[in-house]
Subunit: 412 residues, 2 copies
């Protein structure tokens, strides 16, 4: 038998670090800041167990069967009400229940992206989103972030440059709040400018709100979907406010778009879990999700605080990092002197010598160069306990200091 | 705002009838033979509830988190043992847990199919599989079935014709046992010939075994994956032997293939339900699935018997249908005199006048013509109770008789 005749899309997908990350996260002896994993302590497992049992009892055998591709009506209505609460008046037909957030983006890409179509993303951007877009052979163009998140001036420039070459991007994907990987939140002013540019260039905007409910402090700017319900496809997940194991997310968009995405879902997984959708419906409508959010926010806030304090204490001079107002991540940029090294090349050493894992900056950029990725990294402070967060950051900081010293000595 | 700039793949996908079928199945007043839905009566809901609770209790909070993309190790091992029982010695690394059977096929298509690649399927073939293949813009070529299932001579001819034009198909997708939609099972002789041809033409074979565990009678021929473990990608689902709501299936293939498919899964839904995988693991390893199969087989056998008896009693002379030895479907071909009509055109009347739904033959063919689809239809006898099966078939037969008379009169 000859070698496998795989599709060409696999070439672009081999770059993905998702597998590596999940494998690192699996090793029990490693302090992993790699995966964006919710704190298990935040799961209301007793409520979950009770609702699971109640759904089987109340709905009976039929709830173990298939459900409609667009989602169970009760959940679609509950999610529509949640969208209204987010500032986007929504009817159930504008909701599509998906098998998590990545599955939602997979559907959007399936519906919109032909090979070679331009999709704009932040640079840096959520690495699993890049993976999805690569699987559809999108021409991914990164728009630089500054310390306030996606830079509308840079977006403007990128759009004008593309227009000058006769190329019209189809989608703009962004995580406007507690961005992955930077933790940054776009201001209302920037949001309005981004949407203006999107309207001017007839660009569809995909807003990924995965972390938005987990705000530690500060005022929430309006969601993009509230500012422009027609133009924005809002993607969300129940992984953070119920549990990842449920494998449920949703998207909200105008009806015509949802109809096309339902068609795509029939070729993706046909329908999401019926019983699970009832659990989600009750989790949301009976106020359990809000209780979980209330319990989760202080956990994550404290972990962020400990993480940032340990960074301040130990990281080499000249290192900068973000101070997220919510969500799971801080984004670290090592001083330019670190450029001779590479956070990617250093990762195996971090794991082997220090028993600490992170995601190297490069993984979050669509292009191989032209960015600070090699001296950047993402830390997810969401998963580890407080002591582990402190210990892990101390170890990591020590490694970076040593490495930087070595580099300076080598450079003499 | 202008019209949506959807991807070109959507053009081919709009033909899908899956949505229509699921909608018909939702109407509570319609006797639906349309969807291939398991009998809710077959679900061991008490065991399911108990195992769900036990998994949360025994595994704790972590089981509500994310899991590895390839699947939870315990389940992969259990499924590997199941594959061994199927005659294919398998290690856990050759197993990929998927979010149901369609999701497994979506991954295979993602990994193998570039736009324009040729994929061979039976004519007729499972309509959702056609939908998946269309979503990757495969050039789908149908190989005719005769009354024994996929015809190896026809496959041989098709392969030689393609080779003569310099085109090499990549995949052959088939449901060798209790085929969807015909219910037919390929003999061992035919299986061996199909695999010989596949080897000769370096064709990867995708075996969909969704119904294989539900055998009413007769001897099971060896699975394709047992006859050629290297060449065959075996796709399977837990929807029939546990429950569709669980959204779990799996595939077994050699390691290199599984690795590529894991990469694809990271862009599809990242991982399948962790807690659900533990439920599945225990369902299988504690013998509950086998108990469910034992309980389910007599239910389906009886429904088939009632369905076939009602067909024999009522259908117009010259109508033929298959007698499946297991699974969910019988496939009906109306007499040539019916050609002036069309089961697709007649479906709204069947629903509106008779309150009965089925799937019209055309939906199962990749090509729009050159087949008997317009006078064919699929009945799934799996879902309705015995009285409903009998009543539904009687009503349907009456409609066909009347329609045929009308056609004959009109033809005079």
């Amino acid at each position: 038998m000859g070698g496998e005749r795989f599709a060409t899309r696999l070439d672009g997908m081999r770059r993905s670090d998702v597998a590596t990350i999940l494998k690192l996260a699996e090793q029990p002896d490693v302090l992993s800041f790699a995966g964006g994993l919710p704190a298990p302590e935040s799961f209301l497992i007793e409520d979950y167990a009770e609702l699971e049992a109640a759904v089987l009892r109340d709905q009976g055998r039929a709830v173990l069967g298939y459900g409609p591709s667009a989602g169970v009506s009760a959940l679609r209505e509950t999610l529509a009400a949640r969208m209204e609460h987010f500032g986007r008046p929504t009817v159930a037909d504008e909701i599509l229940v998906t098998t998590g957030g990545i599955a939602a983006l997979d559907l959007v890409a399936k519906a919109y992206v032909d090979a070679g179509d331009i999709v704009l993303v932040g640079a840096p951007s959520y690495l699993a989103a890049l993976h999805v877009l690569r699987s559809y052979q999108a021409d991914i163009v990164g728009v630089p972030l500054d310390d306030q998140g996606l830079d509308p001036d840079a977006l403007d420039t990128t759009l004008r440059e593309l227009r000058a070459t006769g190329r019209a991007p189809k989608l703009l994907y962004l995580v406007p709040t507690f961005q992955n990987p930077t933790g940054l939140t776009l201001s209302e002013t920037r949001r309005r400018r981004v949407l203006e540019l999107a309207r001017e260039h007839e660009l569809r905007v995909v807003e990924d709100s995965a972390y938005e409910d987990l705000r530690f402090e500060g005022e929430a700017p309006p969601r993009l979907c509230a500012l422009d319900p027609e133009r924005v496809i809002h993607i969300n997940t129940l992984s953070k406010i119920v549990a990842p194991s449920l494998r449920l997310g949703w998207l909200a968009a105008r009806r015509e778009i949802v109809d096309a995405l339902v068609l795509c879902k029939q070729g993706q997984d046909q329908c999401s879990t019926t019983a699970g959708q009832w659990v989600a419906h009750r989790f949301l409508s009976e106020g359990v999700a809000e209780r979980q959010i209330e319990a989760a926010v202080p956990i994550y806030r404290e972990r962020r605080d400990v993480c940032l304090a340990a960074l301040a204490e130990g990281m080499p001079e000249g290192t900068v990092w973000t101070r997220p107002e919510g969500g799971f991540y801080t984004w670290i940029t090592l001083p330019p002197a670190f450029a001779a090294l590479d956070t990617e090349a250093l990762l195996p050493r971090a794991v082997a010598e220090q028993g600490v894992a992170y995601v190297a900056g490069n993984a979050f950029y669509a292009a191989p160069d032209g960015h600070a990725g090699p001296r950047q990294l993402r830390l997810a402070y969401s998963y580890l306990g407080l002591d582990q967060v402190a210990l892990g950051v101390r170890r990591l900081a020590a490694l970076f200091r040593v490495t930087l010293d070595e580099a300076r000595e080598g450079g003499r």
